[in-house]
């Protein structure tokens, strides 16, 4: 029973660690499916984290705080859209700029919030069910955003593969010239997809500062935005696989933490390297299969669209 309780505690922590990655990666997945490569996920997450934290600290409202995270992410995403869609800037360079800018901006905004404690978000409490041993905490005991993340995974899948707007979005990412020739508004569709990505990254960031830690620290995402980008490749642009991949990564980082706590004789720094090394490993395993990448990656990914005549 003791062991089982520990296992459940680890699983619960793993799910929490995976949740910001799920949000950010799902958002980026939709963005990339429309043909846009936004490397600014890390920046959008940071700005989302600090905005969410600031709103929670000043208003005390969890819902407002999460919404603020989403809005902040969308604000940065708008900046990205203006540059890449309207001004045809290189998407890779603009994404990098977004991350650098978001890092600086979040540090500036967060200056007065460093070290401030927060209560965190309420957890689900289903009478009877949440108090069940093992199953209670594992299935019914998470905070609400965990369930939202899982629901979004299926929502994004349904949207992309079962609805007409989803079909149009995929078409735009596959061949923007053809979509334009048929008469679809390529720029508007991409703008919407980038905004969605921004909102999701912002929520993912807010989850970190509101629930996961919960506190604000400069650069607190520690590369999670980049790991989310890698997750999209790992998932070969399929939403359900994002969920699996994120849980896998959550598992790696929680196991590293847990190993530290239980006094494994490996220096903590090496354990902390594991998520990053796992990201590299996973990228290598997926990318080597060029056929699979070719079949699943949006063909226009990262290419600017100028309606040529």
């Amino acid at each position: 029973m003791e062991g089982a309780t520990t296992a459940v505690a680890i699983a619960v922590a793993m799910i929490a660690a995976a949740t910001p990655l799920i949000f950010a990666a799902l958002g980026e997945l939709v963005t990339e499916k429309s043909g846009m490569l936004n490397l600014g996920v890390e920046g959008m997450m940071l700005v989302g984290a600090v905005s969410g934290f600031a709103v929670e600290a000043t208003t005390g409202s969890g819902i407002l705080a999460v919404a603020a995270g989403a809005v902040a992410g969308m604000a940065l995403a708008t900046l990205f859209s203006v540059l890449t869609l309207a001004l045809l800037a290189n998407q890779v360079a603009t994404g990098l700029a977004l991350t650098l800018f978001g890092t600086g901006l979040s540090a500036l905004i967060g200056k007065s919030f460093v070290g401030m404690p927060l209560p965190g978000l309420p957890h689900l409490a289903v009478p009877g069910l949440s108090d069940l041993p093992l199953i209670g905490p594992l299935i019914f005991g998470h905070d609400l955003l965990v369930y939202l993340a899982i629901a979004m995974t299926f929502g994004v899948h349904e949207f992309l593969y079962r609805t007409r707007p989803g079909l149009i979005l995929r078409a735009v990412g596959e061949n923007h010239d053809a979509a334009h020739a048929i008469g679809y508004p390529v720029l508007k569709i991409r703008f919407a997809a980038v905004l969605f990505g921004g909102a999701m990254s912002g929520i993912g960031g807010a989850y970190l500062s509101l629930v996961y830690t919960p506190m604000w620290a400069e650069n607190m995402t520690a590369g999670r935005g980049w790991i989310a980008l890698a997750l999209v490749v790992f998932a070969t642009w399929k939403p359900a696989r994002v969920l699996a991949g994120a849980w896998l990564f959550g598992g790696v980082s929680i196991l590293a933490l847990h190993a530290q706590g239980s006094g494994v004789a490996v220096p903590s720094q090496f354990l902390n390297m594991l998520p990053y090394l796992a990201t590299i490993l996973v990228l290598v395993l997926i990318s080597r299969d060029r056929t699979r990448i070719r079949l699943n990656a949006p063909a226009c990914l990262g290419r600017s669209f100028y309606p040529t005549v």
């Binding site: 540059l83 650098l100 978001g102 901006l105 500036l108 508007k188 400069e218 990228l283």
Partner: protein
């Protein structure tokens, strides 16, 4: 929202050569204006802050030397990055390569502690360059062998490198007489770069950066390898058609980038820092991305851009001391600078038409379809 209402872009027949060098100026101007707005929002007097930020720090000889000192690692990293960016090889892990360069060079200095000689500094330099190259070799190999995105692998390795440095500082390389502070011994005099301007910290590393600028220009503008780098970056299919070996170019550009970043790392520890500490760079490797773009991926432009961006570092520190301006403003400044540059770059290939486009005519008098 309607995109039709926006000012429209019309392609120019040929890219404007004037705009290539004018857009960085426009970007700097726009950043300064936005900076003044930002200062006002933060509750500072914009003009006084601007003065404290951009003018006071470089109004002394010492200040100018500090400027060159900070520009040195930025230039080195940015030239390496630019070589890759030209070829569409997105090495964004210069920070990690710099860290490993510092570890390798610094490691040599620590290993030789007690039996030094004039041979030490060159050996440290070589070790730093090789260390940076070795670290960059990982994304190069993963890209060439497994097609893995060098953007993500090189970035992940930044975190790994800094954790490795942290481990060394807390563990095996900690100064035995350092009261448990996480830092190494002070390097001996033979492991330090000689000062070239007295009463400043300007050292021999800065002339080395100038050598890198010249070599970078020679490589990109005059050599056949540089030509191949440019072709592969502009049109990969044409490079394949001409028979340029793409894998070889991935290796070349990443080795140049890693080597120069590693050199920057060893120069930092053998220069102004003088020992290994857990934080040897205030993000030079990332800021170098901005420098590379601001300098138009051209070595001479990079030199100018590095001086400008170095000013934002020094100014940030100075304004923090004199006005208590938050240091994070520097990061915001640097990010804005790159945004404005990317935004104004559109002027090189397009001209902006305000109002209704010449391609559209007013709706005819007759009604459209219902």
């Amino acid at each position: 929202m309607s995109f039709d209402a926006w000012p429209r872009l019309e392609p120019r027949g040929e890219p404007s050569p004037a705009m290539v060098w004018l857009t960085p100026v426009i970007a700097v101007a726009a950043t300064v204006v936005s900076g003044m707005i930002l200062f006002t929002l933060l509750g500072f007097d914009p003009v006084a802050t601007l003065q404290a930020y951009f003018i006071t720090p470089v109004s002394t000889r010492y200040g100018l030397a500090e400027l060159a000192l900070k520009a040195t690692p930025l230039t080195l990293c940015a030239i390496g990055l630019a070589t890759g960016f030209r070829a569409n090889i997105w090495n964004i892990g210069a920070e990690g390569q710099l860290t490993i360069g510092a570890i390798c060079g610094g490691g040599v200095a620590l290993a030789a502690w007690g039996h030094e000689g004039p041979w030490l500094l060159p050996v440290m330099m070589v070790a730093g360059v090789l260390g940076g190259m070795g670290w960059a070799a990982i994304p190069a190999w993963l890209r060439v062998r497994f097609n893995a995105s060098e953007i993500l692998t090189s970035l992940m390795l930044v975190y790994v490198a800094s954790l490795l440095l942290d481990y060394l500082m807390h563990g095996p390389w900690r100064d035995p007489e350092g009261f448990n502070f996480p830092q190494s011994r002070q390097f001996g005099p033979d492991a330090l770069l000689p000062i070239i301007v007295s009463e400043t910290r300007l050292h021999l590393g800065s002339p080395l950066a100038l050598v890198a600028v010249f070599s970078g220009w020679l490589l990109l503008a005059r050599s056949f390898v540089g030509f191949q780098i440019r072709v592969i970056g502009l049109t990969p299919l044409a490079a394949g058609y001409a028979g340029f070996n793409q894998r070889r170019l991935v290796w070349i550009t990443l080795m140049i980038g890693g080597g120069l970043s590693g050199l920057a790392g060893v120069i930092e520890v053998a220069g102004p820092i003088g020992q290994l500490t857990p934080s040897i760079s205030p993000g030079y490797g990332f800021t170098a991305i901005i420098v590379a773009f601001l300098g138009r991926l051209h070595p001479v432009g990079i030199l100018a851009a590095a001086l400008l961006v170095a000013l934002s570092y020094i100014g940030g520190e100075a304004a923090q001391i004199s006005l208590r301006l938050p240091l994070a403003v520097t990061g915001v400044f640097q990010g804005m600078l790159l945004f404005f540059l990317l935004a104004s770059d559109v002027l090189i290939r397009y001209r902006v038409r305000l109002g209704a486009s010449s391609h559209r005519r007013p709706a005819p008098a007759a009604q459209g379809i219902r």
